[in-house]
Symmetry: C2
Subunit: 368 residues, 2 copies
């Protein structure tokens, strides 16, 4: 406010003296003082983890820019239907959106490879791929075709394997399994003989309860507990091989982005870095407490997919994803980059993160 | 530049007309327009991963603030000796520093528990602890006693186990082992009967070569390759149980921080989030390539610490760290918080990250 008063006063002085004309005042300073953007999320407003991350993004842009750029958050459907958020941003109806890349696969199939790939990268590796593995450049290329600038803006981490009313003891058990599982994971389940259906969120619990579906995946304990899925299913499987990390996207109308001053570009970039880690941190910190509640208060039975099932699903995933990636050149380009990065990530994880997790899991008593 | 010209011109006009006196110009606008901070790092300038992260931090603060706050980076020793960086910031000689919390354990022992704990949290969990597990509040409390505001500003991820000229086949092999290993990891090796020494970086390779020491740890493949340690040791052990994640700190003179406007506080906070993930991303992306070079070009032999050795070290670590944490109330408070968070993190990792790494490591052929 002080700054705007200052500009206003200076302009008054200038007008009074004629020494500095209004037109000689730097235009960006004035227009930026008034810049307001609208961001619609694909999530309901304040949705735990996903929506709260978008709120943090808006808050940091507004605060760090000192009010030069204020971002107002709208939940999915408040301006346009959730899955029309991309159209609204591309057309300039709103300036910014927040969602997940695979929501836009109907427009550009390559987006689904940026979001999450069965048996692909985990969150830490996905972030490294974005920043040092060519991911940012590829995602920008993909989003440019959508009319937007891309930012990684949150990550769920490894998701849960899903809620099942039938046990999975062999790959055979997927034959005829009616499961709600979207995206690339769904394609793999389909290839395993599953009967894959898509249902809007609200219809999932009754469908699971009535036996219309045998299984569903959602996010992870933190969101699944809030959604009450434990009321309708017996078994909670892990790990979420189908979404080992799901990246959330923040997208800005490309012309609006390109016209932005360098300081505001840096503000939006850094605020996205903040949101990107904030969302993952929230999931990492809160999933375990929720898992405890599910198991100890609601009697949920935790089950690990057997290794031979995981191995068979891994082979299927390779074929299915490879074929889908070859359907268009942009998907192929993104996938090739991820395949290269993943090979190195697996080799390194074996002597670092994975080896450490396994060492820490040995039976010794620590300083507890 | 434009903004400064504008302010200067407005001031000239004001002086000429007398309509607005110089003193009636809002002071923050002028002082902020000119604010310049000096940040000294404990690392040499542009040191891979560590120093480059500090550069990014300074770059984003300067850019996102539109020049209102410019941070100039100085390498360790350019203003004061590296380990006097904290004193220089606390006394206000410089405004900002970048290092690792355990460098300040001589002043406040609790800092070492914030940095890294043998068999403790990995980077993803450490970040979640900072943001959602009470870590930020505790670190702020610790750094307040140092006269500073604390930010997590980079992470090495799981470090390498170290360079050895003697094989480790049982805990007995640590008896009399002359090893350069600082911090809490060093205390554990000491408890295992090791002869722990501390050497400045430059003295490590000749000491290893001459047999004056049998082993040393450094960082991970990316830094270790650059340092040439493979020339002086035969075996490269994993995992780095002693530093499963080492957090880097950015610290700001407390009075300077508290006097900062809210927009610049948000800029510094978001820029640190950017640097925090940037450093980890660089390590994750570059460690594997370096590991490949070490193994395939330099014939380094990779070895995993045997599980029974890791289990024994885990037990020792528990006792040693527990005792050290009980030496003062602030250490105890930090450690208790981490112990609680770690218990939950381990339980959740078993059904998420750890289970996923293991599933992805099964022998199936993916889309490679």
């Amino acid at each position: 406010m002080k700054r705007r008063q200052f500009i206003k006063r200076a302009a008054t002085v200038a007008a009074a003296t004629g020494a500095v004309t209004a037109s000689s005042l730097p235009a960006p300073a004035i227009s930026q003082g008034l810049m307001k953007w609208r961001m619609q999320t694909t999530w309901p407003k304040n949705f735990p983890g996903l929506g709260t991350g978008a709120n943090k993004l808006a808050e940091f842009i507004s605060r760090a820019s000192g009010g030069k750029l204020t971002v107002e958050v709208f939940g999915g459907g408040e301006i346009v239907p959730p899955f029309e958020t991309m159209d609204a941003v591309a057309s300039g109806t709103i300036e910014m959106g927040h969602g997940a890349p695979y929501y836009w696969k109907g427009k550009i199939p390559a987006t689904q490879f940026i979001a999450s790939i069965p048996f692909g990268l985990n969150a830490q590796e996905q972030n490294a791929w974005i920043q040092f593995g060519g991911g940012q450049e590829l995602a920008d290329k993909v989003y440019k075709e959508l009319g937007c600038k891309f930012f990684a803006s949150g990550n769920t981490g490894v998701q849960a394997g899903g809620w099942f009313n039938k046990e999975i003891n062999s790959l055979e058990d997927y034959k005829g399994l009616k499961m709600r599982i979207p995206g690339l994971g769904g394609e793999v389940v389909k290839a395993a003989g599953g009967n894959v259906v898509n249902l809007p969120g609200g219809e999932i619990p009754p469908a699971l309860q009535s036996g219309a579906i045998d299984a569903t995946e959602w996010v992870g304990p933190y969101n699944d507990l809030a959604f009450g899925l434990y009321k309708s299913a017996k078994f909670y499987y892990y790990p979420g091989w189908h979404e080992p990390a799901t990246l959330l996207d923040n997208f800005v109308n490309l012309e609006t982005w390109e016209a932005l001053s360098d300081d505001l570009k840096a503000v939006v970039t850094a605020a996205n870095a903040y949101a990107n880690s904030y969302v993952l941190n929230e999931f990492v910190a809160k999933n375990n407490g929720a898992l405890n509640t599910l198991v100890s208060e609601h009697g949920v039975i935790l089950k690990k997919f057997p290794d031979d099932v995981l191995n068979a699903l891994g082979t299927l995933a390779g074929t299915v994803i490879g074929d889908l990636a070859s359907a268009d050149s942009l998907s192929r380009e993104v996938m090739d980059s991820i395949v290269t990065f993943r090979k190195q990530a697996i080799a390194y994880a074996k002597v670092s993160e994975q080896a450490f997790y396994n060492a820490r899991g040995l039976p010794f008593k620590w300083a507890d």
